[in-house]
Symmetry: C2
Subunit: 471 residues, 2 copies
């Protein structure tokens, strides 16, 4: 076992931190395969890149080698773009030069039916016999921001501690891109395709012990390893949170998943039960996946479920109260002292000093009408988390607004969550207040519904871990 896991770690290091990459079968024209090379080059990959193609001499300023055997140095990772009939010999040659892992982009296996499943099983056995572990086939490969590796052009290389294990190649890039846009950069992402050899639980095992990963997320259509996946997941969630988007849980989705990656998507209630038992945080789409990552990254799992809401726009306060009840969290009862403190700060009308606290519209032009009641609420022992919907119409006041809230969070140790309402700053040139809050480690969401949904996921994960949740 120990040997195995050491071997697996070396393979994973070759995948996520390769010193050199061969690109076997790099195409001449502007085909999909070309994107892999563009991806590496635009990422600023600093290791050696060895393109291989018997019919061309140079590509994008790099010398092209006729055969794998001609490559003049060691190769950690190979990206294999050749037609199916050449796969066996290429993998054999890679084994000869000591390559530990190969991304098999080539499609046409289990996604086409039972025959393809047999074929890819044989391919995986061949890889293991040659000493080359395979990612795929039918996959897009690896993204690693610290190693500046990308299989897709123009990807941002912001370093982060979130990882992604994905059964869809294209979704990998989309999720990473949307994460970066929300201030949630990914450190490592892998598209495992049909998972003929390396399976999702291999990646989960590695990422669980990777000190640079704090949250693991996954898009899964199916897992070939069955029971082993859930056994692994159960160990992983004791070490760090795992967010799982299981696609194909409906009848329509199940069929679509099968023709996409050949996945046998399995029964919805079995999956949901097994994921819950393993302590995974279940999500149903890309935005939920990122919302859950946002919450799990910044909110400690021992957070309680008594929530206060504080809003400038009264309508948002009412709507958030509705969403709070739907989320299953509790509306915190503010103490008489807290209510008195808030009342002494706010004007007499157009406000509410009970939870949800409505600080009134004047707060848009005086940020202290937000921050001082917020501090009072966070100091109330009956409040575990405070959700704020608001902002001001001045860029300078927004800076103070943020600083005061960050200070209050630090002083009280309470969970603070922001709803980013870009319409507050529509007339300002500086429109990224939400991103600034995320940079200050305050989880930020596009709506109170999504914020409260995500907080509930953290509270539930805390309960799974046996944390002291009240209520």
């Amino acid at each position: 076992m120990n040997n195995d896991s050491e071997g697996l770690n070396a393979v994973m290091e070759a995948i996520f931190n390769p010193a050199s990459i061969a690109m076997v079968g790099v195409p001449e024209g502007m085909k999909m395969g070309r994107l892999f090379l563009m991806g590496l080059q635009s990422a600023g990959y600093r290791g050696n890149i060895y393109p291989v193609n018997p019919r061309i001499d140079t590509i994008d300023g790099l010398p092209v080698f006729r055969r794998v055997a001609d490559i003049p140095g060691p190769v950690d990772l190979a990206v294999v773009l050749v037609p199916k009939k050449h796969l066996y010999s290429v993998i054999e040659q890679l084994g000869v030069i000591g390559t530990r892992a190969a991304v098999i982009f080539t499609a046409g296996f289990s996604e086409l039916g039972a025959e393809g499943t047999d074929e890819q099983r044989q391919l995986a056995a061949h890889g293991r016999a040659c000493g080359v572990r395979l990612i795929g086939p039918n996959c897009m490969g690896v993204y690693s921001s610290s190693a500046r590796v990308s299989s897709f052009p123009s990807m941002p290389m912001d370093e982060g501690d979130t990882a992604l294990v994905s059964g869809s190649g294209s979704l990998t890039s989309f999720i990473v891109l949307r994460g970066v846009a929300r201030g949630l950069p990914f450190g490592k992402a892998v598209s495992f395709g049909n998972a003929a050899d390396l399976v999702p639980s291999d990646f989960f095992s590695y990422l669980a012990s990777d000190p640079k990963t704090s949250v693991i997320s996954a898009y899964i259509e199916g897992v070939p390893e069955g029971r082993l996946f859930f056994d692994t997941l159960q160990k992983v969630t004791r070490m760090k949170p795992a967010v799982v988007w299981k696609a194909g849980l409906t009848g329509y989705g199940r069929k679509a998943a099968h023709s996409h990656t050949g996945a046998l998507a399995g029964d919805a209630s079995l999956w949901e039960g097994a994921l819950a038992q393993a302590g995974a945080v279940q999500v149903a789409n890309m935005d939920e996946l990122l919302d859950a990552v946002m919450a799990l990254k910044f909110i400690p799992p021992e957070t309680g479920n008594r929530v206060a809401i504080l809003s400038g726009p009264g309508g948002f306060a009412v709507a958030a109260a509705d969403e709070l009840e739907k989320s299953g969290l509790l509306l915190a009862q503010l103490s008489p002292t807290t209510r008195q403190r808030i009342a002494s700060i706010l004007p007499d009308t157009g406000i509410s000093v009970v939870n949800p606290v409505d600080v009134g519209l004047s707060a848009s032009v005086d940020f202290r009408l937000y921050t001082e009641p917020a501090r009072a609420v966070m100091e109330d022992p009956g409040v575990d988390a405070l959700l704020i919907i608001g902002g001001t119409f001045s860029a300078e006041a927004n800076r103070s607004f943020m600083e005061e809230l960050v200070a209050a969070k630090r002083a009280t140790g309470k969970t603070l969550i922001m709803v980013d309402v870009p319409e507050f700053y529509f007339a300002l040139t500086e429109k990224d207040l939400g991103r600034q809050f995320v940079s200050a480690h305050i989880p930020t969401f596009p709506s109170s519904a999504r914020a409260l949904w995500a907080l509930k996921k953290v509270v539930d994960y805390g309960r799974f871990l046996g944390g002291p949740n009240r209520g």
Copy 2:
């Protein structure tokens, strides 16, 4: 009755298309009330503005009048910002100079309890006795893009045929702003506050017969007119779609609504039943409201429920199939001919020719791999609506992509819906492909889940109208 509705129409014209506006009690410093004047001026209002305040001579370059009686011309609409104790005399003076309608910003009525409810009832009676109809109290008033009227500064003045009737002043501006950002400008919006005199159904009646309004949306915490509201709504929805966000349907929300606008939010199941019976499209938050408007504006209610999905990224196709089943719509069966046509266009692997159609990743670099299968699907008699998730990595190709799809929609008369995935064009300078589709009258949504939810609302509305829905 006829006289009444003629009278109401004249009042509404004064509200949404005023030739002159008095601003009574405009404050000296930077207080909330000042925003009303800034709103009118930044909107580029072309009529006469008459500020009134006994203590100042000029404001923002305008002469200020000491009393309403000093105003030198007729006043269609007044915005009243004076303290509660001056309201009676101001309304009386407005009546004397023939003002038809007044926005009462002043708060401190029914939102504070039973006494306030009595007070605002008396205030409304006083207004009617003086010939002045009241909007509010405790409201933000009017937005009318064609008349360039706004109660909030720096609002966009894009003209549109969507209307908004809102129980929250601040939400009014936020909804209009978010609508404009999505390519859904509002023509008229009103915040009715505590609705002591003019009630939501008055606005609904007017907007139903307003030729410049095609979709009516509403944010409602409560309605003082009870039964009359639903009777009116039932007539309205036969003329044009009405989208209703009823807040305060949960226990937490109900209490919050009461302290916000004094609304008695009512029982959730009664509201939901009555809204359904009246044919209103029910939504639960701001984004759902705009999603429903988007769909109802561009999709005819007689659209059938057989949906095809076409995606470049395979993961999105699987996810959309899951969402389709959850939405309650049907996955269209493509005919053998359609499948053959698609197969003849696409490469052999990494694709799917059954619904959901997965055109493969090569489509990102060759837009015809999207548009030609899309045309085949739209020409299939078994398909009512096509949802497309995709785009290309080139701005020029995206233009052709859009033109071909718009042409196919026109030629086939089928409903076409786009999912805007901004990550497709992250490397392009031109990032507004979604907005361009909306400009071409193609409804566009940020996710397949939201797109399919919204389409289902249209199909259900069509069923309510007795349209010929199949399936």
